[in-house]
Amino acid sequence: MDKKALIAALREILPASQVLDSTEAQRPFECDGLSAYHRLPLVTVLPEQQEQVQAIVRLCHQNRIPLVARGAGTGLSGGALPDENGVLLSLAKFNRIVDIDPDNLCATVEPGVRNLAISEAVADKGLYYAPDPSSQIACSIGGNVAENAGGVHCLKYGLTVHNIMALKVITTDGELLTIGGKTYDSPGYDLLALMTGSEGLLGIIMEVTVKLLPQPERKQVILAAFDDIGKAATAVGDIIAAGIIPAGLEMMDRLAIQAAEDFCHPGYPLDAEAILLCEIDGNNEEVSERIMQLRQVLDRTGPMHFATAETEAQRQQFWAGRKAAFPAVGRISPDYYCMDGTIPRRHLPQILKRIAELAAGCGLNVANVFHAGDGNLHPLILYDANQPGELEQAEQLGAEILELCIAVGGTITGEHGVGIEKIDQMCSQFAAAELSQFHALKNAFDPAGILNPGKAVPSLHRCAELGAMHVHHGQLPHPELERF
């Protein structure tokens, strides 16, 4: 089927205004949040009814046309990067909240509903949806499910996978499959877990039933400043070791602190090498008790100073700085590249130091702002795409950081997904038989391979070619590191 025929067929399914094929109309869809990768699809469609999506999927399936789903396009791994020979399926028009069910503590929403819109819609019932990615004002729940998004509160409340109950998914044959329900489990295989984080490769998510939680009676945050990033990293382990599971435990380093302070003035200490934001929530008595305990633990970790937010406004201000950290860093550098490796917490001091050394070695700056309690790093590598070679240098540094994460028993991605970006590192993280198992699973859902081709799971061929380039005399990278 050529482009003309494809567009004609799509216009049978959709009004002409919802089928975009001109370059300028499609520009906004050429990339997601990882703009280093961008390309135009053959055609972009913006359906608004489920039957239309089913018809589009069937059309693509019958004609072996690649189909890439897109939520809000805030992804950071190029997952929603269009296929130049395919259709880009925007789910933005599916933005209705279908049902709020306070008795069963859940809400059912369409995939294009923004993450924050859910909590806003149920706030008057004293409820909220827990996962809160920093992109929550923009990102869609469909994209959250596809990436298994986390947030600053997932240390205590879990990731997307822990906070959804049911999905409606359109499979490649155009059928609607209901997975899970308003129950705490469902019979058979855990397809809810399998679909979560599947990056648009197994089906199109059309409806999500999310779990709602009662809002905590009280929240309190402590900001602790350290003169050494290693000390801050050690404090993270000490807090957990004391039996405290904070609602959020985030770290920012000097560069990130400065950028955030310049951007939105949250009142961060500019003389600190690192800060920790540690939030406790629960009922009034519990928060008081835990905050006391936390202060005792922090006191022993040798901070420069630490303070509890004095008012709710100040608490929100502390978090505003953290949540705006990415755009804030975006202001101090023409471009940045956000990494997402996750490591066992005890390696934090060592790995942060090593990242700084690697960065210094290639003359690039790195700002760190991340989910310390989960060991989920977000080194932001600053570069200027207009300087020849800098992007490649940043990518090279990023790849080295990910190899470091693997070497200490961690993973290349904690919450942003593999997408197109980390496809090569998948070859380091998994053996051939494991990748084959992933392909076999993909084949169970999408034998023709039309859904988001070339993403998330590399072909064995690609890994073999890469292996030939990367293995040096059978040595593992970073022999100096303690192995897991």
């Binding site: 069910d101 019979p187 399998l194 008595e285 991605t413």
Partner: protein, 351 residues
């Protein structure tokens, strides 16, 4: 404590070559959930031992044949717990069995289920390949979530070798409350409590009593108890008896059914007797009601039923699936076990 990986892999390859299905077994504590088949038993007993446990990481990795008892004792020494309260049913209970059956105890609505705490696993698939998925870190989205897919799969997708579990600090304090209510009112009461920010760790109804369990810091549970009110026994053995199904409710010859329903489902007037757990979302039923009726009833309530103990032996014990769902299950099974040698029929008949 020993590593039987090679031997187990050999057995699976052999079974594959001779096309003879295997029935994976461990402690046998949950074998009543399994169907008796003619498959060759393959015991993972002895493939055991805690491989890695660092309390500050909140992760424990153990071989599948490790006893739950050993794991809970090890965790207790560092004031930590398996947060999903897995039932043992027998001292032989193993970690592998807990994960393969995917069962969680009364705490489930409040802290999460077995699958919620699985971080990674190592398996042998039906092709005799040793595969590792997930890991020992809190967050990991590299590749499909195969580790969680193993939970509740009843060993039909792979033989579990090693499992990494997220653990949590133990609750420093627990408090118990009881209030008497008629059934419909009890359900409404439990829903009201669930929708408030309370340190709940159990909410069940038996006889005419709502049993409430609170867990958390001393001040938190005391404040919550004052707010909720009711009788406050020093201990409530009910919770252990419920988790282990040693409570008198579970006695007797009648089949035991497990109905997993939306929590706010009204009280169901059914023949037999009921015990309600999970704040309304789990209804245990001792009844001789025919399977067909119960499957239909559960589906009508947007939930599902499972024949848990007793009942007719050759029956599918799990809610029947819609054709599209069954088809995708068969394909997933095939992707892990193309020769159909791992626990065939243990989840659904036919694959």
């Amino acid at each position: 404590m020993s590593d039987r990986t090679e031997e187990l892999q050999g057995r699976i390859k052999q079974a594959m070559a001779s096309d003879s299905p295997l029935q994976i077994q461990a402690g046998g504590s949950k074998s009543f959930l399994c169907r008796q088949t003619t498959a060759q038993p393959l015991s993972v007993k002895g493939h055991s031992g805690i491989i890695n446990y660092d309390p500050t990481e909140l992760v424990l990795t153990a071989r599948a044949g490790t006893s739950l008892k050993e794991i809970e004792q090890t965790l207790a020494a560092s004031q930590q717990i398996l947060p999903f309260e897995p039932p043992f049913f027998d001292d032989g209970a193993t970690l592998g069995g807990a994960i393969a059956t995917g069962l969680s105890g009364p705490i489930r609505p409040f802290t999460g289920s077995a699958r919620d705490y699985v971080l990674g696993c190592q398996i042998i698939n039906g092709k005799g390949e040793i595969l590792k998925f997930g890991g020992q870190v809190m967050k990991n989205v590299a590749g499909y979530d195969v580790s969680r897919l193993m939970v509740g799969a009843m060993g039909t997708l792979g033989l579990l070798l090693e499992i990494s579990i997220k653990v949590l600090p133990a609750f420093p304090n627990q408090l118990y409350l009881q209030q008497s209510h008629p059934p419909q009112e009890a359900l409404r009461f439990m829903r009201r409590l669930s929708s408030q920010n309370l340190p709940l760790s159990g909410l069940a109804y038996e006889g005419d009593k709502v049993h409430i369990r609170l867990a958390g810091s001393g001040s938190a549970v005391k404040a919550a108890a004052a707010k909720i009110g009711g009788e406050q026994p020093a201990d409530d053995p009910f919770w252990h008896e419920l988790k282990e199904q040693t409570h008198a409710f579970f006695d007797g010859e009648l089949a035991l059914w497990r109905l997993s329903l939306p929590a706010a489902t009204a009280y169901l007037n059914l023949p037999g007797k009921q015990l309600i757990d999970w704040g309304g979302a789990l209804r245990w039923l001792k009844s001789d009601e025919p399977s067909r009726n119960l499957f239909q009833l559960a589906a009508g309530c947007a939930g599902h039923a499972r024949l848990f103990r007793g009942g007719e032996a050759d029956l599918d014990r799990i809610q029947p699936q819609l054709p599209a769902m069954r088809a995708i299950h068969q394909k997933i099974k095939h992707s892990f076990d193309p020769h159909g040698i791992l626990n065939p029929g243990q989840l659904y008949s036919g694959f």
